[in-house]
C-alpha cells in the first residue's frame, strides 16, 4: 500500500518487539478477550479499571508504542465523551449537588462506565492496529475461520481505499479551483454529484480489476501465499498473558462486588 498520503499507512508502527512478532490471530483473540473482560466488570469496582489501564500500559511499553501516538488516536472517541458528559444531567434516580448543580448519581456512574470501558477498548484497539500491519490483521481474521469471501472484500477495500480517497481529494481540489466552498446545506447537490462520479469510477475500476484478475487465472479464490502459518502453543500462551490477567481482575472484582452486597 502506498499509503503515505492517507491515514491508513500511518496506523502501523514498525517494530520487532514480542508484541509485533506474535501471529495476528493470537493478538486478535487476546484483544477481544481483554475487552470482553473489561466490559463485564462491575463499574463500582473502580480499582479494577486502574489495573486494566496498567496492563495496557505494560503492553504499550513492551511494544514501544509512544504514549503520544495513543493519545492522538484516542480523539476518535470524542463524540462519545460528549454523550457521557451529558448523562449526569439527564439520567433519573437519586441526585447529588455538586457546585450548585443537581446531578444524577446513576448518571454519574453511567458516564464513568462508558468513559472508562470505552477508553480501555479504544486503547486496546489502537495497540492492536499499531503493532499489526493492516494486511496481516486481515490474514489473522481469515485464520480465525471467518469466511474468506469477507476477508477478500476487506482486503480489496484496504488495498483500494487510498486510491479512492485520492480520487476524492482530486475532485475536491477541482471543485475548489472552480470557486466551490461548502458553506451550508444548499451546496449538498454538488457534493452528491461528486459522490456519484466517485461511485462510477470506483465500480468501473472494480470491473477492470476483476477482468485483470481473471486474465491472470482468478477463479474466485485468492492464492494462498503465506502458507498455513499456525501459531505455536508458546505464542498462544504469550498472547494469553493479557486476557488471563484481565480475567483474573474481572473475577476478583465480581467477588468483591458480591461480598459487599
Amino acid at each position: 500500500m502506498s499509503g503515505a498520503t492517507t491515514s491508513l499507512g500511518r496506523l502501523f508502527l514498525p517494530g520487532a518487539t514480542v508484541v509485533h512478532r506474535l501471529p495476528p490471530q493470537c493478538k486478535l483473540v487476546a484483544t477481544v478477550a481483554f475487552v470482553l473482560a473489561v466490559v463485564s466488570t462491575p463499574r463500582e469496582q473502580v480499582w479494577a479499571f486502574g489495573l486494566y489501564a496498567m496492563l495496557l500500559a505494560a503492553v504499550a511499553a513492551t511494544a514501544r508504542v509512544p504514549a503520544g501516538v495513543i493519545a492522538r488516536r484516542m480523539a476518535i472517541e470524542l463524540p462519545f465523551v460528549t454523550f457521557a458528559l451529558l448523562m449526569p444531567f439527564v439520567a433519573h434516580g437519586e441526585r447529588v449537588t455538586v457546585a450548585g448543580v443537581g446531578l444524577s448519581v446513576s448518571g454519574l456512574w453511567g458516564a464513568w462506565n462508558i468513559l472508562v470501558k470505552g477508553t480501555l477498548g479504544v486503547v486496546a484497539s489502537i495497540l492492536l492496529a499499531a503493532t499489526t500491519e493492516a494486511r496481516t490483521l486481515l490474514l489473522g481474521v481469515e485464520r480465525l475461520r471467518l469466511p474468506s469471501l469477507l476477508t477478500q472484500i476487506a482486503t480489496f477495500m484496504l488495498r483500494y481505499t487510498d486510491v479512492i480517497v485520492d480520487e476524492l481529494r482530486r475532485m475536491k481540489v477541482a471543485r475548489a479551483a472552480r470557486g466551490f466552498e461548502a458553506r451550508d446545506i444548499r451546496q449538498v447537490g454538488v457534493l452528491a454529484r461528486s459522490l456519484a462520479a466517485l461511485f462510477l469510477r470506483s465500480y468501473e475500476r472494480g470491473e477492470r480489476v476483476h477482468l485483470a484478475m481473471v486474465s491472470r487465472g482468478y477463479d474466485g479464490r485468492m492464492p494462498v501465499l503465506h502458507g498455513d502459518a499456525r501459531a505455536s502453543g508458546a505464542q498462544w500462551a504469550t498472547a494469553a498473558a493479557l486476557p488471563a490477567a484481565a480475567a483474573l481482575v474481572a473475577a476478583t472484582a465480581w467477588m468483591v462486588q458480591w461480598t459487599h452486597l
Binding site: L11, V35, L36, V38, V39, S40, R43, M74, I76, E77, F80, M87, V90, A91, S106, G107, A111, N113, I114, G118, G121, V123, S125, I126, A129, L137, P147, L150, Q152, I153, A154, F156, L158, R159, T161, I164, V165, E167, D184, I185, Q187, V188, G189, L191, A192, R193, L195, A196, L198, F199, L200, S202, Y203, G206, E207, V209, H210, Y218, G220, M222
Partner: protein, 233 residues
C-alpha cells in the same frame, strides 16, 4: 456514530453478534449468487467507496456536521446483499484499524448500521418503486424516502438494543426522543445525498443502479444517419 465498548452490556453484545453473523452469512451467499467471482473486487471497491464517502462531511446546522452512513445508498446501487457486506466490512475495518466503534460492540454496530439500514432502506425502496411510475424522477424520489427513513429506523433499532442491554439508566423515552430527533436531521442530509447520487448515476450508467434495473429505460446509442450530401458542400 459508532457504539463503543461498554455502552451495551456483554450478553446483549454477544446476542447482536450472533444476529450480525447470521445476517452476514445470508448476505455472503446472496452476493455470491448475484456477482459470482466478481463479488470480491466489486464489493471491495464499493466498500472503499462507502468508506471514502463517509469522509465527506456536510454541514447540518451551525457548527455541526454530519456524514453519510451509506447503507441505503449502497443497497440501492449494488443490491441489498452486497450492500450489507460493504457496510459491514467498512465497520469491521473501522473497528479493527481505527478503534472507531468497540470490538465487542461490532455486533451491535453491524446489526444497527448494516442490517437495519439496508433492510429498511431497500425494502421501502422496492415497495415505493412498485407503485410509482417507471421514470427517473420516481426512482430518485423513492431513494430519497428510503434513505430518509433508514436512518431514524436505525436509531430506533439502537434504542431497542439499548432497552435490552443499556448500561446506564437514562430513561428510555429520553434516549428514543434524542436519538430519533437527531437522526431525523441526519436522515434528511442522507436522503438528499442519496437521491442526487442515485439520480446522477442513473443519468450516466442506469445499468449500475441495481435496485432500478428494469424500471428505467436503458440508454441507447442514437446516431443520425448522415445523408450522402451533394458534392462540394
Amino acid at each position: 456514530m459508532h457504539v463503543p465498548d461498554g455502552f451495551i452490556d456483554a450478553p446483549v453484545s454477544l446476542g447482536t453478534g450472533v444476529i450480525a453473523a447470521a445476517g452476514i452469512a445470508v448476505c455472503l451467499r446472496g452476493a455470491h449468487r448475484e456477482l459470482d467471482d466478481r463479488t470480491a473486487p466489486l464489493a471491495g471497491l464499493t466498500a472503499a467507496f462507502v468508506f471514502a464517502a463517509q469522509m465527506l462531511n456536510f454541514p447540518v446546522a451551525v457548527g455541526t456536521s454530519g456524514h453519510l452512513l451509506g447503507g441505503a445508498l449502497a443497497a440501492i446501487l449494488v443490491g441489498p446483499y452486497t450492500g450489507v457486506l460493504c457496510v459491514s466490512v467498512v465497520l469491521l475495518v473501522q473497528a479493527l484499524l481505527f478503534a472507531d466503534g468497540g470490538l465487542t460492540a461490532l455486533g451491535v454496530n453491524i446489526t444497527v448500521m448494516g442490517l437495519v439500514t439496508v433492510l429498511a432502506g431497500y425494502g421501502l425502496f422496492r415497495l415505493l418503486i412498485r407503485v410509482l411510475p417507471r421514470t427517473r424522477a420516481a426512482v430518485s424520489a423513492a431513494s430519497f424516502v428510503a434513505a430518509l427513513v433508514s436512518v431514524p429506523t436505525a436509531a430506533l433499532a439502537f434504542t431497542g438494543v439499548y432497552a435490552l442491554g443499556g448500561t446506564t439508566d437514562v430513561p428510555l423515552g429520553t434516549v428514543a426522543g434524542a436519538m430519533i430527533g437527531v437522526h431525523l436531521l441526519i436522515g434528511l442530509g442522507e436522503a438528499i445525498i442519496t437521491m442526487v447520487t442515485v439520480s446522477s448515476v442513473l443519468a450516466v450508467r442506469p445499468d449500475l443502479v441495481y435496485a432500478a434495473r428494469g424500471r428505467v429505460r436503458e440508454l441507447e446509442l442514437k446516431n443520425t444517419p448522415v445523408r450522402p450530401s451533394a458534392a462540394g458542400v
